[in-house]
Amino acid sequence: MKSKFHPDKNGYFGQFGGAFIPELLHPNVQELADNYIQIIESEEFQIEYKALLKEYVGRPTPLYLAKRLSEKHGAYIYLKREDLCHTGAHKINNTVGQILIAQKLGKTKIIAETGAGQHGVATATVCALMGLECTVFMGEKDIVRQAPNVTRMKMLGAKVVPAISGSKTLKDATNEAIRYWIQHPETFYLIGSVVGPAPHPDMVARLQAIISEEMKWQLKEKTGKENPDTIIACVGGGSNAAGAFYHYLDDEDVELIAVEAAGLGVHSGESAATSQLGQVGIIHGSKTILMQDEYGQIVEPYSISAGLDYPGVGPLHAFLYESGRAKFMSATDQEALDAAFELTKIEGIIPALETAHALAVLDKITFKKDQVVVINLSGRGDKDLEIYTQYLEA
């Protein structure tokens, strides 16, 4: 069934999307655009992809009723445990799928960008699995604040290249990955979120859609209904949210909440709450909502969470925001830290800092009695121990 939330032939979700790329990348992007749907929908791909998700990633991930969290908020709060995926986050759903697509297209050299390092690790992992050469671009600032993931990538045989331009975070890592891609068009750019030139946003959303595909039958088993009342997910570029929302986009009775990083406060000047602070613009080859000044210069964002420290948002999310299909909320650094510690104490689950932003909005919502809420628990907090240690000592 054709949904209004699927992109048109030029890769647009409403006014957002497209492929604003230098001519050198045209053949690569066109090759992918011509082939990705056919590959993803082929029986051969589906068998390999589903087998890897089951045997290697460890899917299906549990849908866990968080009893004490539910009691506190007076609702049924389920956690979709993407943190239990191999490598510790939802990111590997996408890398497993894209590495198969890369192989079908005959590509042997893989490049990727990473913010928190989760996508870098997930990419290095599938490259190790398939015996492919892997280069990961990571902001110099993120290399410092997410050091454990840098070690993991190196162990996995990836080359980690520091991005030293701009704010030295995810935006700049993505710039460097794209510049490298321009100079090495034979490589496959294994992009980590629902961002970039079409068809990347749609391809990544389709590969993350396994999250909501599982949620449907898991909820049916547990509650008798496929649809929850509310789904909450954090959004940097937006891949875990895209996956958690995907199969519910057309079910307008399911409330979708996207949570952005407010940093030190939405209007503090140190924030990454793109929907609140951005306007229509072009970043990384896609027309979307973007934090920028009056001359179109991209503003450096800020968040304690490297994975949400991004001045744009995927074009699908820009469309969900503009159309009102999703509600956008935000959480500050402090709110996210508090939420991370609360979940750890009452449920025994240490979430990633990114994920903690989604948890942090629970306190800002008044739930109806018996409301069924799913929070996409996108990643685990092992990589954030240094920041959590500082919080404990403060």
Binding site: N10, E23, L24, I178, R179, P185, G281, Y295, G296
Partner: protein, 255 residues
């Protein structure tokens, strides 16, 4: 008639174009650089509009753009600067920036400002052909502007033919699979690519850029095209030796 086309009527080989970044090395250098380049005999000038995230540019132009922005340059200042030399400058100017600058400044406002500065040619390396066809072709025509397309070693013949049919100023032949920045030498495979493009007998004039840095690479490029563009090598020299040294950089290339 487009100013670059007019230029080609007077001279159609060995054209030298220089790219520079507005507001670099100092905020007030924009007009000084243009005047010095014109004085030195450069045939046309690419006016770089500094952008925070220039995806098609290498480290040298990234750095100059960053410093220019730090100097406080912005589109309003640039357009004011360019207006002051409109009457005295006879060397055609081509604006080079990124699509988001045009989008945020306002498409019509941006086009009007270029026209007011006497600029009728624009290069936007991240403007794809499909977007040009669907929207920007009409916008540019409304203001008498011409857009320059880039072709690369990987652009298909069919696409080059289409670009040729859209081009009114020239086709920008990107010398290799690269972002901007000097490579030193021109390789045999690059020459094979230049020969292939030349043999297509396109109606458009061809200007080679990316990796052209000195007399030797300029002369080689001019064997296969109507001229060539030097960017990063000039920016590097400008950063080191300043505006006063411009003639010393240009003279050995064209004389």
């Amino acid at each position: 008639m487009n100013s670059i086309q007019e230029l080609f009527k007077k001279k159609d080989k060995n054209l030298l174009s220089i790219y520079f970044t507005c507001g670099y090395p100092n905020l007030e250098d924009t007009t000084k650089v243009i005047a010095a380049l014109a004085q030195s005999g450069v045939d046309f000038i690419e006016v770089g509009l500094p952008y925070s995230d220039p995806l098609a540019d290498g480290p040298t132009i990234q750095k100059s753009s960053h410093e220019a922005l730090e100097n406080g340059i912005n589109l309003d200042i640039i357009f004011e600067q360019l207006k002051t030399i409109k009457e005295t400058n006879n060397t055609p100017l081509v604006a080079m920036g990124y699509l988001n600058q045009l989008l945020k400044y306002g498409e019509d406002k941006f086009c009007k400002a270029l026209v007011a500065c006497g600029i009728d040619t624009v290069i936007l390396p991240d403007l794809p052909m499909v977007e040009f066809e669907n929207h920007y072709k009409q916008l540019f025509e409304k203001y008498g502007l011409t857009n320059v397309f880039l072709i690369t070693p990987h652009t298909s013949e069919e696409r080059i033919r289409k670009i040729d049919s859209y081009s009114k100023a020239f086709i920008y032949v990107v010398a290799s699979a690269s972002i901007t920045g000097a490579k030193g030498e021109i390789s045999n495979s690059q020459i094979g690519y230049f020969e292939r493009i030349k043999a297509m007998n396109l109606q458009s004039k061809l200007i080679i850029g990316f990796g052209i840095s000195d007399k030797k690479t300029f002369t080689t490029a001019c064997n296969y095209a109507h001229g060539a563009i030097i960017g990063s090598a000039f920016i590097k020299d400008l950063g080191t030796n300043g505006v006063d040294n411009i003639d010393n950089f240009i003279a050995p290339i064209i004389r």
